[in-house]
Symmetry: C2
Subunit: 211 residues, 2 copies
DNA sequence: GGATTATCTTGACAGTCGTCAAGACAGTGG
DNA sequence: CCACTGTCTTGACGACTGTCAAGATAATCC
């Protein structure tokens, strides 16, 4: 038997070969989790959708929670930069709204499974203590991601934002969630509706324009 | 063996004795579901928290989904009138905001398990086709419930609402969900924060006051 | 009261789950 | 070449799941 799972630390031989496998398993886990959700995605099914067998999971992870948390952290680390180009490349407030809307629509279209998994886990965290810390942390980084967009929008518009970051995030997240729900229900116009809604709501987040 | 479960129809003997037991089981199911969530609440555990044994569930319900859907429908039918007194009893816009905030805070405090269950089921509906119709329908009635508050608020304020019902609902639902998350995480101020946030956001939903 | 129905309990079924341990295999260092 | 360590597979365990069927109990009707 080799050394146990996550108690393994750098400094021993293969250094990051270990972490690379963890990420590889995380990738496969995300595929299955996005398909089936947290509760129905068994470790056997996750392993089946990978190059390995079901026993290997416990070689790289403490337990199912450890795998799931690592997986969603792994995903959100990439996902959190999704809107940075919107902030960087927009020269006017109108540009920003267009780019933001386009990215939101694309997210609904292309990454629906990942996001329904996120909402699943966030709800589970209210039941499962072990998920709470990771979820809270990720939610905070999402809030900061959204705030970069909103504050840049305020800057381009020349008016200060009138809402706190947490409020802006909660509102946009609510809209996004409804759109995802509609998309999951088969609505082909969910993304378009979301874009229009965001265009309506974003101006309300800034201090009123001087008359 | 008696007649099967839900294929039973009125017109036979006990008429509503059957439905009464269904509601009684739903009540017990809600207790367990609110405690454990959808995935971990087994039929045996639900029956244990009731006056009956685990086999009786299949006498009154087709399967687990049937029980869960009936339970959450049963709850939301009551819950959906929760804010009607806010609408009916408020004489001014300020009164309404106070009453609305107080009810929201009370809901977070007293009915947190029911609402985390609701968010759990709504997320599950994106994975489980069988939940989708019931969830969509309930979500619509919640939207209408919120809209009664918002439109009454607009009326008292003398300004028309500037948002569609779906947008108003999504925004407030997003705020409520964040508050519930914080409450579940142990924050003792979650309700108070929510009240303040709602006070900030509600005016933004109306057309700007004339200068 | 007896017969018939409705209701409820008990016990079992076929699966699935997370977890773990024993051993196979590969690669490396001596 | 041997020993050793890291990696992975296989098979098993106990527990739990939704579902169902057979029989006990209670209620109802003739």
């Amino acid at each position: 038997m080799g050394t146990p799972n996550t108690t393994r630390r750098r400094g021993v031989r293969p250094v990051d070969k270990f972490d690379a496998r963890r990420d590889q398993l995380a990738e496969s886990a995300l595929k299955t989790l996005g398909e089936l959700g947290y509760a129905r995605a068994s470790l056997r099914e996750i392993a089946n959708n990978s190059a390995f067998s079901h026993g290997v999971v416990h070689y790289y992870f403490e337990d199912k929670l450890d795998l799931v948390i690592h997986s969603v952290r792994y995903y959100k680390a990439r996902c959190v930069t999704r809107y940075d180009s919107v902030v960087a490349d927009s020269a006017t407030a109108g540009d920003l709204l267009d780019a933001f809307g386009a990215k939101l629509a694309q997210t609904i279209r292309d990454e629906a499974p990942m996001h329904r998994l996120w909402y699943d886990l966030r709800a589970q965290s209210m039941f499962e203590e072990g998920l709470r810390d990771a979820v809270t942390m990720i939610d905070k980084t999402l809030e900061e991601m959204i705030w970069r967009v909103v504050s840049r929008y305020a800057q381009l518009e020349g008016r200060p934002a009138a809402l706190e970051p947490s409020v802006a995030y909660a509102m946009l997240d609510g809209l996004f969630q409804q759109a995802l729900l509609a998309h999951a229900g088969g609505s082909p116009v969910a993304e378009g509706v979301l874009v229009a809604q965001v265009r309506t709501v974003m101006p309300l987040m800034l201090a009123p324009a001087a008359a």
